[in-house]
């Protein structure tokens, strides 16, 4: 989103994102390793399988916190618009792909890719929305 965080809000945002991403890597490797070597069953299986999702959900909370903490209303408006573009793109592609899957024209892809599409569109939208104001 930006190279060097300038304001305290940006620094907190970037710091929280790094923490969430580190937690995601640890959770993903941890869950994969445990499934491979210990074959969990029952509730622990569900708990472990959902573990990598938690840092991803945390990213949504982190973006929300950043929006709430941002003092610069112009920056906030860019972020809000970009998140709407991201959400719209992710929903549109998920719906489109869902129907293609439904009629067997494409293979099934894991649902968590929806978040990846959202994040990528959210990031791209920030660049495009900013260009409008230059």
């Amino acid at each position: 989103m930006f190279c060097m965080p300038k304001t305290p809000e940006e620094r907190r945002y970037v710091g929280r994102l790094w923490f969430a991403m580190t937690a995601y890597i640890v959770a993903t490797f941890g869950a994969t390793w445990t499934f491979k070597h210990h074959h969990p069953r029952g509730a622990s299986m569900y708990l472990l399988a959902s573990l990598p999702a938690l840092p991803i959900l945390a990213v949504l909370v982190i973006v929300g916190l950043y929006l709430a903490e941002l003092k610069d209303e112009f920056e906030r408006s860019i972020l809000v618009e970009s998140s709407l573009w991201g959400t719209g793109t992710a929903l549109a592609l998920a719906t489109f792909w869902g129907f293609l899957e439904n009629y067997g024209t494409v293979s099934t892809i894991p649902m968590f890719y929806v978040f990846l599409v959202w994040w990528m569109s959210f990031s791209l939208a920030q660049v495009l929305v900013r260009r409008r104001y230059k």
């Binding site: 300038k6 003092k71 610069d72 209303e73 112009f74 920056e75 408006s77 900013r130 409008r132 104001y133 230059k134």
Partner: protein
């Protein structure tokens, strides 16, 4: 919305970065307001007015009333 911000800023000999610092916003915000591409909220418009010791109407030009 059209405004006289660029002229007023130039009279004070402030750069966009100077004004941004005084308003506690980004330089991009000042640029977007100056070029009329972004309309500030009422609280930010009041902050600008206080900074230049003017009324909001003296800084921002209401196209519909002209």
């Amino acid at each position: 919305m059209k405004n006289r911000l660029r002229v007023l800023r130039a009279e004070k000999n402030w750069s966009q970065a100077d004004l941004a610092q005084k308003l506690e916003v980004s330089r991009q915000s000042v640029n977007a307001i100056e070029t009329g591409k972004y309309d500030p909220s009422l609280p930010l418009a009041f902050r600008l007015a206080r900074l230049f010791k003017m009324t909001i109407e003296q800084i921002f030009i209401d196209d519909e009333s002209s």
